[in-house]
Structure formats: structure tokens, C-alpha cells
Amino acid sequence: MTEFIVGLIDAFSVTLRQMFRRPATVQYPEEKRTLPPRYKARITLTRDPDGGERCVACYLCSAVCPVSCISMESAEGPDGRRYAKWFRINFSRCIFCGMCEEACPTLAIQLTPDYEFCKYDVLDLCYEKEDLLINSEGKYEGYNFYRHAGVGVVNPKGKNDDEYRPVDLKGNMP
């Protein structure tokens, strides 16, 4: 019985104390949280430091996407550089899981903390390549895939900083 009464008094005092606490609510439209840079919201296609597109249209993001909201068509430039002929993300389907970003081998696709992009028309949520491309390197600065790739696009084959010369298949030297 005493246990019961003490428990009751305890419970009532807890709720009373909580009443004088500052509410944890963020008053959203007036007050906005500063989101961490890795917050997963609007997806962008970033550029490399030289201003070129990073995306090489490898379809990995499209393949890993659990809701299949990414689609594209690949093409190849005259210098052997691959690019997406068109690239489309349907944000009305996107669940912002960030798996596309994890899958991307060239750090091209990146999620940003910009979460305020509601539209009155569902079709407006279909972002085309020109809507997705931004003039920024995003979270990873100074990375250009073709400077490490072993494909002779930026520099001739084997001339990148961290590359060896291509092996001479017909020579005897190791």
C-alpha cells in the first residue's frame, strides 16, 4: 500500500516537473534546424574540380535504388568519356535512403540537406539532368574520377599522378 502511494506521488511529481520544462518542439516554418551536411534530402549531380560532369552513367545508382526512381541512358564522348545522355530522378517515388550515393563510384550523385521542394504537380517532381546538375563538388572536393581511372580522358593513359605506366605486354621486363 505504501509502495502504491509513494509510486503515485512520484508519478505526479514527474509530470508536474515536466510541465515547467522547455518544450522540445521546433516551431518549423519560423524556426529551422541547422541540418548536418550529410542530411539525406534532395539529390544532386555534382561536378568535378575541372567543371565536368562526374557522372559516368554506370547505372549503379539506378540498379541499387530500392524504389527504382532513377533512370538514365548512357553515351560515350569522342574522348572515351562516358556520360548520361539523359538522367531522371522521380522524387515522388524517392525515399531518400541514400543508397544511390553509397553506390556511386565517381561521387557524382550526392544527397543535400535541402528538403523543402514540394510541388503542386506530381510531374514537377520528375527532375531531369539539367535540374539535378549543380555547379559544385558537393561534399567531396578535388576529386575527379578520370584523374584516377586508367582511362585516357584528362591525361593520356598512364600519365595520371597515381598511375603506373601501362604494362608493355610485348616486352620482357617485369
Binding site: A11, L16, Q18, P23, A24
Partner: protein, 337 residues
């Protein structure tokens, strides 16, 4: 002006004032509950409509009135329509005997606060709260839905069981006063409120009042996670609004009654015109206590509810009648001067 016309006007003014004030208070009781509950849960509660959300009741009213009034195909039409009226009506009627302020003299007439200064006020209140059970039971039955029926049955069983404890807890008050008249009961507490004489009675009354108004530890008739919304599941629009408003008026009325019976009614320090304020302040505190309870306690299980009522509260109330009676006889307690 003839005598009777003046009396008629006074009664009319009192009626409209009480109706208006109680309904407004009930609306703001809802807001207060939402606000206080929110603060206890580290939230803000409604704060968008008007300054500090003060116009929220108005918005709720507009919403309720403009909603579609749905009549379930299985419903018993007449009873279905009458039930919410019974609930809200009985509760509103109860307020007509509550003396919420001291007597005032207007144009040579001594105007007492209650609309009718009924000499069997206590019985009137108990009778009305018993009638209110019909609203719950009939609403549950006439909706033609199993959840409503279960809620109605639970509601009527609970209210009947706890009415017994409530009635018994008022017995010492009536014994000490020697009258069923609520004005007399308040007058008898001019020296000391009855909570001093009968603290146990106050406790039992408070608990059974919470059960009577179906407040949270006893909200089985409308237990959301078992019965959708209990006896008013099928109701929509303003008919649901009537149940809702009735429930909150009930809280106000029962708080007012707790104040009248045990906390000295409108008596308090200060000049006579403060009596209204004192009454309001005490009733608001009791109402706050109900909200506080809602934030604190979980719901009873049905068998716990019944066991608590019949095995603890009723014996306690009975013992209290005997103890207070014996003490009153021994020490010659008699409320008032």
C-alpha cells in the same frame, strides 16, 4: 415593473449567463487540457490559431459544425439522435443548482447564484448523473456497432458502480450540514471547508468523480486502443461534438461540485465580490488536477476498475460515513456558525 417580471428577467439572465459561460468554459477547457497535456509531454500544443492558439476552440467548432452528419445503416434512428442530447442536457442541467457565488442584491431582490435554489439539490445532482448514464448506454446500443455497444455497456456499468461511492462520499457532507440544499452546504462551510472534517470523503469523491466523467484512469468506455472511441464511435459532426462538449462540461460541473461539497464553495478571504473568483479558482484547480492525472496515470484494466470501485471505494466511503458520523456526534460538529 411587476414583481414576477423582475424575477423572470433575473432567472432568464442567470440562465443565459450560465449557459454561455459553461459552454465557453467547456470549449476552453478542451484547449487548456490540450495545452497543459502538451507541456507535460514537452510539446507546445495548439498555438497556431490566434495568439497562443486561443482561437482553437472556435476553429474546432467550425470544423465540427461543418462536418457531415453520418447515420449508420444499422442505427436506431430516434434513439441515436436523442442520446447525445441526453448526455449534454443532463450535464448542463446539473449546473443549475451549483451556487457559484455569494448572494448579490439587485433592485431590492437578493439574487442567489444558482438558477434554482433547490432544497433537494444533492438528490437532483445524483439523479441527473444517473440519467446521464442513459445517454451513454443508449448511444452505445443505438449505433449498431460492436465497439459502441461494448463502450456503452462498460460506460453504464462503470458509472453505476462509481455513482454509489460518489453518493456515499457526499453523505458526511449532508450529515454535517443537515440539508440537501447546496447553498446551505456552502453556507455551512463558512468557518472551515468540509475537507477538514472528512478528508477521506473528499478523496473518494474525487476518484469517483474522475470515473463519473470517464477521465483517464477510468476511461474504459472510450478506450481508444480497444474500442476505437467507445460509445460515440459512430457519431460525427456536431453530434459527436455534443458528447465531447458534454464530457468537458461534466468535468467543469463535477469540479464545481467538489468545490461546493468539500472546498468551501465560494468562501474565501477578501471582499464579497471575490466569491466568484474564489469559486472559479478552486474549480479550476480541481479541473487542472484531472488534466494532471490524465498526463500521469495509465488506464485501468476492466476487472481492476470494478474491483477498485466495489472492494475499495465503496467500503471506504461506508467507513467514512460511520467515522465522520461518530466524530460529529462526539465533538458536536455542525457546519457553519
Amino acid at each position: 415593473m411587476s414583481e414576477s417580471l423582475i424575477i423572470f428577467i433575473i432567472i432568464f439572465v442567470k440562465l443565459s449567463l450560465i449557459l454561455g459561460i459553461t459552454l465557453t468554459l467547456a470549449a476552453y477547457m478542451v484547449l487548456a487540457e490540450r495545452k497543459i497535456l502538451a507541456r507535460m509531454q514537452a510539446r507546445y500544443g495548439p498555438n497556431r490559431v490566434g495568439p497562443y492558439g486561443l482561437l482553437q476552440p472556435l476553429a474546432d467548432l467550425i470544423k465540427l459544425v461543418s462536418k457531415e452528419d453520418i447515420l449508420p445503416a444499422e442505427a436506431d434512428k430516434t434513439i441515436y439522435h436523442i442520446a447525445p442530447v441526453i448526455v449534454a442536457g443532463t450535464v448542463l442541467l446539473t449546473f443549475s443548482v451549483v451556487p457559484f457565488g455569494g448572494p448579490v442584491s439587485v433592485m431590492g431582490h437578493v439574487v442567489k447564484a444558482p438558477v434554482i435554489d433547490l432544497n433537494v439539490g444533492v438528490l437532483f445532482i445524483l439523479a441527473l448523473s444517473s440519467l446521464g448514464v442513459y445517454g451513454v448506454a443508449l448511444a452505445g446500443w443505438s449505433s449498431g456497432s460492436k465497439y459502441s455497444l461494448l463502450g456503452g455497456i462498460r460506460g453504464s456499468a462503470q458509472m453505476i458502480s462509481y455513482e454509489l461511492a460518489m453518493g456515499l462520499s457526499i453523505v458526511p457532507v449532508v450529515m454535517l450540514t443537515g440539508s440537501f440544499n447546496l447553498s446551505d452546504i456552502v453556507a455551512a462551510q463558512s468557518t472551515a471547508p468540509f475537507i477538514v472534517y472528512s478528508p477521506l470523503g473528499f478523496l473518494v469523491f474525487l476518484i469517483s468523480v474522475a470515473a463519473e466523467s470517464k477521465r483517464i484512469p477510468f476511461d474504459l468506455p472510450e478506450a481508444e486502443n480497444e474500442l476505437v472511441a467507445g460509445y460515440h464511435t459512430e457519431y460525427s459532426g456536431m453530434r459527436f461534438g455534443l458528447f465531447f462538449v458534454g464530457e468537458y462540461i461534466n468535468i467543469i460541473v463535477l469540479s464545481a461540485l467538489a468545490v461546493t461539497f468539500f472546498l468551501g464553495g465560494w468562501h474565501g478571504p477578501g471582499p464579497a465580490w471575490l466569491s466568484l473568483f474564489w469559486f472559479f479558482f478552486k474549480a479550476a484547480f480541481i479541473a487542472f488536477f484531472f488534466i494532471w492525472t490524465r498526463a500521469t496515470l495509465p488506464r485501468f484494466r476492466y476487472d481492476q476498475l470494478m474491483a477498485f470501485g466495489w472492494k475499495l471505494l465503496v467500503p471506504l466511503a461506508l467507513a467514512n460515513v460511520i467515522i465522520t458520523g461518530a466524530l460529529a456526534l462526539t465533538f458536536g460538529w455542525r457546519g457553519g456558525a
